[in-house]
């Protein structure tokens, strides 16, 4: 595989692991700082670390907000990872209500504060968790999740999770103490994964390769 992949650079810090994983999968990552660089991409990765509001400010300040939205309108593959996924939605309640990119209608909410049986559990949710198709959405195993079996574990680190308005946009949920959290979203060629594919061993690399092959 020899694919170029463009990473939207809006000032987010640590990308070394993501870049290493992309290179390991045979891709050449390019950092895009300008509108034109983003629009010239074959496929775009939207990384994310930190808080939603701060990151959206960074997106606006660097011009990446318009760039990513206009790129998405061209029907080329876009993948948001972790906070990058959450930013694809309409808004988030993290540290007050902040608007997102609104490419996938829906809301980013705090992870339920208890397990399904009602006992308090830890937030952030950190660790390996199995993913599965939500009951409202029977589709599985295409595009980003091609070759991934139901209940495969991925590595998560998050306090908030994505709840798309349309059930068809939620491709996979993960289980956290019996609570279902948004794990993978898709709207056409726009994808998001809450887990860190670059830290999810071979399953994560499969997801990256799938994206590179879209």
């Amino acid at each position: 595989m020899s694919h170029t992949i463009t990473i939207a650079d809006y000032g987010v810090g640590n990308l070394y692991s993501v870049r290493s994983a992309l290179e390991h999968c045979g891709a050449t990552p390019i950092m895009a700082k300008t509108y034109d660089e983003v629009l010239a991409a074959d496929r775009l990765l939207l990384p994310g670390v930190g808080a939603f509001g701060d990151s959206m400010k960074g997106m606006h300040r660097t011009g990446m907000f318009d760039a990513v939205r206009d790129f998405a309108a061209k029907d080329r593959p876009l993948l948001g990872i972790c906070l990058g996924m959450q930013m694809l939605l309409s808004d988030s309640v993290e540290f007050g209500l902040n608007a997102g990119l609104d490419l996938i209608p829906g809301h980013v909410q705090l992870i339920p504060e208890t397990s399904k049986s009602g006992t308090p559990h830890r937030i952030p949710h950190v660790g390996w968790a199995p993913i599965f198709s939500p009951p409202e959405n029977a589709g599985w195993g295409t595009d980003l999740l091609k070759g991934i079996s139901q209940q495969t574990a991925f590595y998560f680190v998050h306090s908030y999770h994505s709840v798309p308005d349309q059930p068809s946009h939620l491709i996979a949920s993960c289980d956290y103490d019996g609570q279902s959290l948004g794990a993978v979203v898709q709207n056409g060629s726009i994808f998001g994964c809450q887990f860190h594919p670059e830290k999810s061993a071979s399953a994560g690399l499969t997801v990256i390769k799938n994206f590179l092959n879209l």
């Binding site: 810090g13 640590n14 070394y16 692991s17 290493s20 994983a21 290179e23 390991h24 830890r122 952030p124 950190v126 660790g127 390996w128 968790a129 209940q151 574990a153 590595y155 680190v157 956290y176 103490d177 670059e198 830290k199 999810s200 061993a201 071979s202 994560g204 690399l205």
Partner: protein, 253 residues
């Protein structure tokens, strides 16, 4: 319930993976990167790198090791040893680590825990505690890789450290470390019952029974192993299969 994590612990001195007994008498094992790659291929859930001489020399030398590791190893990596400031933590995280483990600097400056947690999040911060049992049955926290006393009671320190923002505790029993005699279960139980964050049991694993005891009796959320895998006494794949057979809730590959 979250998966129990199988963690490979790699103690590093200079350019070498080393292993000691009671954190002393260190023997060279080999190239840490090669071992990390092997453990990744064998399905490890997480890797811990500990620079064993960093506190002594005042700096962590693992950034190069970590940078090389993240080219081939795609699971979370925790790095400890000699982290004295938010800037030190940032440098380690920038090199591709997911979490930093802090011991020595926090025992003299607990505020460092809050500072790192506030800057990078509690999920990035592991409080490393090296515990040694005292004559009265309590445990004292040691620093500088088990060389120096701190005067801190382990249970009190674990509680305080998590209040200050540590998202996880790496609990090493100096008494059991490198002995293959099993984890200090009383210590593990006392700490895991005192805090609400995950506790990684470290020091003493010699068999699968020890693994099961750490979980069932000690309340461990993760089990760190070194000796048993470094010396090929068991393969990680075998450990995972055995754990599944023993109804321990580990990730299925």
């Amino acid at each position: 319930m979250a998966f129990l994590r199988i963690v490979a612990r790699l103690d590093v001195k200079g350019a070498n993976l080393i292993k000691g007994v009671h954190l002393e008498g260190l023997r060279v094992i080999g190239d840490p990167n090669e071992y990390a790659k092997k453990y990744y291929a064998d399905g490890v859930d997480e890797i811990i790198y500990m620079d064993t001489v960093a506190s002594l020399y005042g700096r962590n030398n693992l950034t190069d090791v970590v940078r090389r590791t993240v080219h081939d190893v795609f699971v979370p990596i925790t790095v400890g040893g000699g982290i004295r400031s938010v800037e030190d933590a940032q440098e380690i995280l920038r090199s591709g680590a997911d979490k930093v483990a802090i011991n020595t600097a926090a025992t003299s400056n607990p505020q460092l825990l809050s500072d790192v947690a506030q800057r990078f999040g509690a999920q990035c911060l592991v409080l490393s505690i090296e515990a040694k049992q005292q004559n009265d049955g309590s445990w004292e926290a040691f620093c500088d890789n088990g060389r120096e006393r701190t005067g801190l009671d382990v249970i009190e320190w674990a509680k305080r450290g998590t209040e200050l923002g540590a998202g996880e505790i790496l609990l090493t029993s100096i008494d059991r470390e490198g002995t293959r005699k099993g984890f200090d279960l009383e210590l593990l139980k006392a700490v895991s019952e005192s805090v609400s964050v995950p506790v990684i049991a470290s020091g003493g694993m010699g068999s699968m029974d020890h693994f099961a005891q750490a979980v069932h009796q000690g309340g461990a959320d993760a089990v760190a192993m070194a000796d048993i895998i470094h010396y090929d006494r068991m393969q990680l794949s075998e450990i995972r299969t055995s754990a599944t057979d023993m109804n321990l809730n580990v990730r299925i590959l």
